[in-house]
């Protein structure tokens, strides 16, 4: 077992877990191969015949809506001799034809046509496209379990994960969100786990994002995570199962503060939501706002943004993001969300580049950590203890809650990571 307890404890993890290629290989197998992994959203393939390409870990897959309207995830690899079927990032069609020998596959992944059929002696049904053993959706979010032994998606998400997704989707007057305005890929030369952690780390705002705070000082982050420690009522929450959030709700001073726009501009949306849900429920939704959370291992719910954390190598990650569009809301409002998304995430935005460079500097600092560990096992550790003594566990829900700046989120991540990597129940 490569990621054993000699590298992980409740208060610390060893830096080598971020840089060792053998750990990465094991992660691709255990975390991304044998667990539930986010693939995409069904609004990305709204029409029958629509498809987009993705990675399940490093395995290239196609997310497709087949001609019967079923959403599927299929290996992007011909079942004959393995050629890539789709090299564009998205497309639309009625079937796929492989360019090597012309085999055709339905969008459901069945082998349909074999040129020169005289030489073909096998059963077509044995030569469909590879696919995950389990596929399931929750409110349009499509998850896959390649191996098949990860239990149900419902179990994986748990009440905490489901509530986080609900909280986002319920902000739409129709209850539906749409991820249809394009994805931006941000290449970061650091380990994927650093991104899973830093996306949900409230402790770093005042330092990593000091320039953003200084140049655009009127964002709601001010109230949510800056200011005096005791004065800040925001929470960090471990929902169990590797899902965790930064809960800014206690600190919002106004309804819809998280919208980051004048109430005048937000008004058409607010009205639409009230119409759909009634004033009271709409009010409580607007007060709460969208979640800021990680669904283990690769889905970041970043308020009105969605990001996928795609591991590439032990020292390279792609952070893909798109903006959450609300159905039943006018285009002007949704375009404001697009502009906010451009400001917040992506290589040229005001926020994530500073997280990216921080992660890259961590990766460099840890480069020799496997070696220094061999030399002296007290070297190269990373601390996760912040707030361990003041966190509160709720035995009923299994949640752990604490101050928003506390490393509850990191510990939530690593507890699940340890379970998965060590094959524990």
């Amino acid at each position: 077992m490569i990621a054993d307890d000699s590298r992980m404890g409740p208060e610390r993890v060893h830096g080598s877990l971020y840089v060792d290629p053998a750990v990465f290989t094991e992660e691709m197998c255990r975390v991304f191969g044998r667990g539930w992994v986010f693939v995409g959203h069904d609004s990305e393939v709204p029409e029958r015949g629509d498809w987009v390409t993705r990675r399940l870990g490093r395995e290239p897959v196609i997310l497709v809506r087949d001609l019967d309207g079923e959403v599927r995830v299929l290996a992007n690899r011909c079942a004959h001799r393995g050629t890539t079927l789709c090299w564009a990032s998205r497309g639309h069609g009625r079937s796929w034809q492989c360019t090597y020998h012309g085999w055709t596959f339905s969008l459901a992944g069945e082998l349909k046509g074999v040129p020169y059929p005289g030489g073909f002696h096998r059963l077509k049904s044995d030569l469909g496209l590879d696919r995950p053993a389990q596929l399931a959706r929750y409110r349009g979010f499509v998850f896959a379990d390649l191996g098949g032994g990860a239990g149900t998606l419902e179990e994986h998400l748990g009440p905490g994960g489901r509530e986080l997704i609900d909280r986002l989707c319920d902000l739409s007057p129709t209850g539906q969100i749409r991820l249809d305005r394009g994805w931006i890929g941000h290449r970061i030369d650091a380990n994927w786990k650093m991104l899973a952690e830093s996306d949900n780390d409230a402790y770093h705002l005042g330092w990593v994002h000091a320039s953003m705070v200084a140049s655009a000082p009127d964002t709601y982050y001010e109230d949510a995570v800056l200011g005096a420690e005791e004065a800040n009522p925001s929470l960090a929450v471990d929902h169990g199962g590797g899902h965790f959030e930064l809960d800014f709700r206690p600190s919002y001073k106004a309804d819809g503060a998280w919208l980051g726009m004048s109430s005048e501009k937000a008004e058409p949306y607010v009205r639409a939501l009230a119409r759909a849900r009634g004033a009271e429920r709409a009010g409580s939704l607007l007060r709460a706002g969208p979640p800021h959370a990680l669904i283990f291992p690769n889905l970041f719910l970043g308020e009105m943004n969605i990001a996928i954390i795609e591991p590439v190598t032990s020292s390279r990650t792609i952070h893909h993001h798109t903006a959450v569009m609300l159905e039943g809301v006018d285009e002007t409002f949704n375009r404001r969300l697009l502009r906010q998304s451009e400001a917040a995430l992506g290589p040229a935005s005001f926020i994530v580049p500073d997280d990216a460079v921080t992660a890259e500097r961590m990766q460099r600092a840890l480069a020799a950590s496997p070696t220094v560990r061999d030399v002296r096992n007290d070297l190269g550790w990373m601390d996760l203890s912040r707030g361990l003594e003041r966190e509160k566990a709720d035995p009923a829900s299994g949640r752990r809650v604490g101050h928003v700046t506390d490393e509850i989120t990191n510990r939530a991540f690593w507890r699940q990571y340890r379970r998965v990597m060590q094959g524990r129940p």
Binding site: S211, A214, S215, G346, V357
Partner: protein, 171 residues
């Protein structure tokens, strides 16, 4: 894309335009933010699309899609000295080549210029690697009080649809 070869303008104007582009590139190379900012108009649009520039930037996500106000914020952020993604600023040199005046309205002093860009960036604040940025640049220039200014700049990176590393400098 333009079907036709470049427009004809007087040699002096052509030279002026080329000099302007080289000067702009030098300011960007050297992270001289304030001087670079002085070159843009009040209604500037500064755009790095996430693919070919064949869509309405209002309707989809782009890498960078600044109006004047957002560009001002961007430059303000860079000037704080705490923009870690550019602290210290990348060491850069740009090749601005194949300059073509694609259209010219001499009376209104409006020019559309196409050029190819190869930019080398030493990301010494981060991985230390030498990164290369390659693309097609379209400048819309406008003459204001006799001086050329940038009314729009669009940078179509050849890998615009691929994952990109930090693009926190002024491209």
């Amino acid at each position: 894309m333009n079907a036709e070869p470049a427009a004809r303008v007087p040699e002096a104007v052509r030279h002026e335009i080329e000099s302007f582009l080289f000067y702009e590139a030098r300011l960007a190379d050297e992270s001289r933010y304030a001087e670079w900012e002085a070159l843009v108009t009040d209604d500037v649009h500064y755009w790095v699309p996430a693919g070919p520039a064949d869509y309405d930037p209002a309707s989809r996500l782009s890498h960078l899609n600044d109006n004047r106000a957002r560009l001002a914020t961007r430059i303000r952020q860079l000037k704080t000295g705490k923009r870690h993604a550019q602290s210290p600023p990348s060491l850069m040199r740009r090749v601005v080549s194949n300059v073509e005046i694609l259209s010219a309205d001499e009376r209104d002093g409006q020019y559309v210029i196409g050029s190819n860009l190869v930019l080398y960036e030493l990301a010494h604040q981060a991985t230390g690697e030498l990164r290369v940025w390659v693309g097609r640049v379209t400048h819309r220039l406008r003459r204001i009080d006799g001086a050329l200014r940038i009314a729009a700049k669009t940078v179509e990176l050849v890998n615009a649809a691929e994952p990109l590393p930090n693009l926190a400098f002024l491209i």
